[in-house]
């Protein structure tokens, strides 16, 4: 298949670029990163939020087949679990590279502070990863077994909790008004489900077998879900931004303005809203196009892209607003700035991690028994 070859080739290129980025990261630490002591979290954290959200969402989609046994989605559960697994791996790799001391990650397990949302998330995602591995193994070996159903039953609330916890990771910070939104833990599972559905559009539309008679219906339902969730996401955005602007608390308004009219306005209006939301919503709302493998797959990829940008638009703006206005000029030095655009090294690492995720998905999709007799 021509498309698959192209994607394989792009993944290899991405991996090569990523290898340079990872070398730079390991050899020079964080020195060549553009995040700093004010904008402390950058591209890698945004991609972590994106990937783990997609993982949780893909798991939710997997339950349609493996827990609820929806006939239309029969045979898609293993693919969804594989998408979740590679996405989770990519997310954890992103955030691991972001740590100042990667070698000390074990401390979160053995000396963790369980009242920290971050520690809770690390524990939760570890559990989720193990659950994903076991579920995939059982879905291949004993697809209709009781143990698999138990795992999926446990995994569903866990995936909802974890995607909500990622919202709470930001939401608990009262010092960042842009993040301190009570509904963040509610919004994030919606975002996760939407990105999970979009990831499945890509997996099934672009890389799924062509002979599944249920494919058209699967794509249509996934498309409808994506459209509805994208509209809900828009409503959340509107609610957040309009209340912030109306409330007129300077720090909050500054952050919203940074998203809407700041130096990277185009990331919000063009990438997130137009390409990542409007175009896919219009296309996927057409039953004929939504059932088409190619259209559905490409639109799914656009939605995913939009969600990645959306995560960046959640993480960065809150940090670009000075906690104390005069800080911007109080002391100068490397990594002491309130503006942020990822460095070449950061882009390279993200490209490599994304390439690795896609490559892992393709290899698994081709080599693993993700579509056995049960799937036919």
């Amino acid at each position: 298949m021509f498309l698959k070859r192209i994607v394989y080739a792009l993944c290899v290129v991405a991996l090569l670029v990523g290898a340079w980025g990872v070398y730079d990261r390991l050899a020079y630490g964080h020195q060549n990163a553009n995040y700093g002591s004010y904008v402390v979290w950058g591209l890698w954290v945004a991609m972590y939020l994106f990937f783990v959200g997609t993982a949780a969402g893909a798991f939710m989609i997997a339950t349609l087949d493996l827990l609820f046994r929806v006939e239309t989605f029969r045979g898609t559960g293993r693919v969804a679990l594989w998408v979740a697994l590679v996405s989770l791996g990519a997310g954890l790799l992103s955030i691991w590279l972001d740590l100042g001391h990667m070698d000390r990650i074990w401390k979160v397990y053995l000396q963790g502070n369980l009242s920290s949302v971050m520690a809770q998330i690390v524990w939760g995602y570890t559990l989720f990863g193990l659950l994903l591995l076991a579920s995939l193994y059982l879905a291949i070996r004993q697809p209709r077994g009781v143990v698999l159903r138990v795992l999926m039953t446990v995994g569903l609330p866990l995936s909802l909790f974890l995607s909500g916890a990622v919202g709470a990771l930001l939401g608990v910070q009262a010092s960042r008004l842009f993040w301190h939104v009570g509904l963040f833990p509610v919004q994030f599972p919606v975002f996760s489900l939407a990105s999970g559905a979009a990831a499945m559009l890509v997996a099934l539309g672009l890389f799924g077998p062509r002979d599944d008679p249920r494919r058209g219906q699967q794509l249509w339902i996934l498309s409808l879900s994506t459209v509805v969730l994208a509209v809900v996401k828009l409503y959340f955005l509107w609610a957040d931004f309009s209340q912030s602007i109306y409330g007129n608390v300077p720090q909050n308004v500054q952050a919203v303005n940074a998203v809407l009219f700041g130096p990277y306005w185009w990331a919000f209006w063009i990438l997130q809203l137009f390409l990542g939301t409007l175009v896919p919503v219009v296309v996927l709302a057409q039953p004929r196009l939504a059932r088409h493998n190619g259209w559905a797959g490409v639109m799914g990829a656009l939605v995913l892209f939009g969600f990645a940008v959306a995560r960046a638009n959640i993480v960065f703006p809150a940090l670009t607003v000075p906690e104390l206005e005069a800080l911007t000029t109080a002391f100068t030095g490397p990594h002491l700035t309130f503006s942020y655009f990822p460095s070449l090294m950061e882009w390279a690492v993200t490209l490599g991690v994304s390439g690795l995720a896609v490559l892992a998905f393709l290899i698994g999709n081709d080599r693993l028994p993700l579509r056995g007799k049960e799937a036919a």
């Binding site: 002591s37 001391h101 000390r104 990650i105 910070q173 960042r176 990594h335």
Partner: protein, 249 residues
């Protein structure tokens, strides 16, 4: 000689206050910093002293001085606000740490255990005062060329940077990726100096005697007297963080 000139230097009084405080059990002390904004002239001596005392690398700062211009001509003035760590009694930065690397010690000072910190920077995002910075591992002499047989170069110039920091009563050398590189760092009221009976570096170097320090639990101390004044304020009190740094207006 005028009365002003024979008045005891506040440093002497604070030194006596400190001596008394150090005789008390740690939990009975309440270290407090009072900064008189009317006396601060914006010389940045405290910032520089802090950098020198703690051997801070580029991009790491514990005590910047915020400068603001207030009013319109001809009624214009400049306000200088030194901003150390507030050592909050209800710190938002400590509960978020996933590994208990940052906490309030027995003296009530918010500290960072460099060997425990994983460098996730969650505490930085939680601090409403931007009082924490991350050590990216940079050095001042990074771009200085190596020396030649007849010319001194980086190997000599970076002597200063190889001097270990004494923070938290230990020797912290900067080498490789070892702590404190890759860690979050912050003001700790110069605990290592207090331990040997010395006032924090920013206090002793303040040319206007604008920064005062001591044990607010000691009614005879200078800071106890100052924090009881009606013209004190603390930054972002509305957040309920209960800062231990007071400003005199």
């Amino acid at each position: 000689m005028s009365e002003v000139l024979v008045e005891q230097d506040v440093l002497v009084r604070m030194q006596e206050d400190l001596r008394r405080a150090l005789k008390k059990p740690r939990r009975e002390r309440r270290w407090v910093m009072v900064i008189d904004l009317r006396k601060c002239v914006g010389c940045h001596a405290c910032t520089v002293a802090c950098v020198a005392e703690n051997k801070l690398p580029p991009g790491v700062v514990y005590r910047p001085v915020l400068e603001e211009e207030i009013g319109t001509y001809p009624h214009v003035t400049r306000r200088f606000t030194p901003r150390p760590c507030m050592q909050c009694d209800n710190p938002p930065c400590t509960p978020v740490c996933p590994v208990h690397a940052t906490y309030k010690n027995a003296d009530g000072v918010v500290v960072v255990d460099y060997n425990q910190c994983i460098g996730c920077r969650y505490c930085i995002t939680a601090c409403p005062y931007a009082a924490r910075t991350f050590d990216f591992g940079q050095v001042y002499t990074q771009d200085t060329p190596d020396g030649l047989p007849f010319l001194l170069g980086r190997q000599t110039a970076d002597d200063y940077e190889r001097v270990p920091s004494d923070e938290y009563g230990r020797k912290w050398e900067r080498k490789g990726e070892e702590s404190p590189i890759g860690n979050v760092r912050k003001c700790h009221f110069c605990l290592h100096r207090l331990a040997v009976g010395m006032l924090p570096a920013c206090v002793t170097t303040c040319i206007g005697r604008a920064t005062l320090f001591g044990d607010a639990n000691d009614p005879a101390s200078l800071v106890a007297e100052m924090v009881a004044r009606p013209n004190t304020m603390r930054l972002k009190e509305e957040l309920g963080t209960e800062p231990r740094v007071y400003y005199l207006l």
